[in-house]
Symmetry: C2
């Protein structure tokens, strides 16, 4: 089954202790769709400006990503400049220009309306809700969010949470949204706001999920080199949703495997800058690393 | 095979968001030996003052812990007052009185000298080295350490590292000792200082180990209630060493299972204050939780 994703497409300038890239292709929808397209067909909704070089759209077409929902409008593409230091667990935003993404109005082409798997990447909850009004009969809706919306659009976010099946967010956001320090408690509190399942990303420490009464906890895939964490969260979400759509299952066992796939997908992303590694990963490599990860976690 | 442990015995006064205990039995050797005695026979080396009520020694005798190496000397027992706030990942020391532990001279009774499994709980590296001079032919020596010794006794610590098989330390200490932010890299750097294996504890995020060329990474056992993290690290070490001594094995597969046992042992400790939960855990409960933990990590 295909996956619909709505989110940002951006040019990223990123500096880490391992180097720097300027104007690299990024954005939540970009990382998500590159990751999820390792599993299934992707329908992309996003916006870029006139400055976006047509040849850079190849990254989507080469991966069979449907760009019927990609708007090209007057103005410049969203761009972000960030820096990571020390253990690289936090991005420091140096500069951000929303440009055309600031007035983004997500319109779904008719061909997208029957989408069964929907991922609402980080964005204003009002826009995320607007997307939901345009899909007919989704089987699984998952959203991301961020501290900004918890701070400035909490009512919209709560309305959104009542309409999604799942949410993927990071540990700091989960604590902020609930006021709970213990992540199991925080995850359960978010479930009570509406979603059936809650996936809490912990960066280098892996992920924790509350799926109904089940608790799932997996570490990250251990890596000696993390060059650039940008896009890790969206790659995780892409691997997670991609696997669920491919499997056509949403039970707790499938969720656990989906989290494992999300984890290994993200592990490739952070091995190099921007999309440099993720774009070249094969499904065979992904499955190989999943098998290694599974073995790593097997206690005999 | 029995395990020799050298470390502190203390009275702890601890306040967390879940309550407070005053003068509870604590100390690294106490938590370690209570945990490890779930697996095998323990030989304890430590010091207490004349203020130590004889009836409180029952906690050791009830568990079959050999206290031939326990010194009772003039003065008061070591005591520590600490506080945990927020996510409770860091203890704040409010007051510390080393008392008799400040002049502790670890002397092994003759009956301990043939110990094959040796755990040197956190203490001055010079004292830890002194213990090693008194054991005849140990099969496995593992030490703990802390930021204080990295700061003030680095040469002794380095001399110690050349003589141990393994070290268990936390993520902050591993980064401090090596100057490396990536924990896989930090663990490998510590291995180059001498130990065959390095176990890095990450509190609520579980543990990472470098065992020869293998990397082991396991999450914590997810708990909705953590009342008091005091003793978690020493309980982890106790479960870890206890299992290895019981199994009589030190290969990578045994190490992984030992880390899993350490993880679930510590998970009981933090469910209540001081030794309140750990002291009542049965081996059946421990094995039950290990089976749950193993199932939690199985990806199908």
């Amino acid at each position: 089954m295909s996956v619909l994703v709505v989110g940002s497409i951006a040019f990223d300038t990123v500096e880490t202790p391992f180097g720097k890239v300027e104007g690299a292709l990024g954005g939540s929808a970009t990382f998500f769709s590159c990751a999820a397209s390792l599993f299934t067909d992707i329908r992309l909704v996003g916006v870029i400006g006139r400055d976006f070089p047509e040849e850079r759209l190849k990254i989507f077409s080469e991966r069979g990503i449907d760009t019927a929902g990609l708007q090209i409008v007057d103005g410049d593409t969203f761009n972000w400049t960030g820096r990571y230091e020390g253990d690289m667990s936090q991005a420091e935003t140096v500069e951000v220009n929303l440009n055309v993404f600031g007035t983004f109005d997500p319109i779904l082409p008719d061909s997208y309306r029957d989408s069964e798997f929907v991922f609402l990447a980080n964005g204003a909850p009002a826009l995320q809700l607007k997307v939901l009004d345009q899909v007919q009969k989704p089987k699984l809706i998952v959203c991301d969010t961020m501290n900004l919306w918890i701070d400035t659009a909490l009512d919209d976010l709560k309305a959104l949470l009542r309409r999604v099946d799942g949410i993927i967010l990071n540990d700091g956001e989960a604590r902020m949204l609930t006021g709970q320090d213990n992540l199991v408690v925080a995850g359960r509190a978010i479930r009570e706001m509406g979603p059936t399942f809650v996936v809490i990303k912990k960066g280098e420490h892996g992920g924790l999920a509350i799926v109904g009464d089940d608790i799932i906890s997996l570490p990250a895939y251990p890596l000696p080199v993390v060059k650039d964490p940008t896009g890790a969260g969206d790659s995780f979400a892409g691997g997670f949703m991609g696997y669920l759509a491919e499997a056509g299952a949403i039970d707790a066992a499938a969720m656990k495997k989906a989290i494992a796939y999300g984890t290994v997908t993200a592990s490739f992303t952070v091995e190099d800058f921007s999309l440099d590694r993720l774009h070249n990963v094969t499904r065979e490599e992904l499955d190989g690393r999943l098998a290694e990860f599974s073995e790593l976690l097997t206690i005999r």
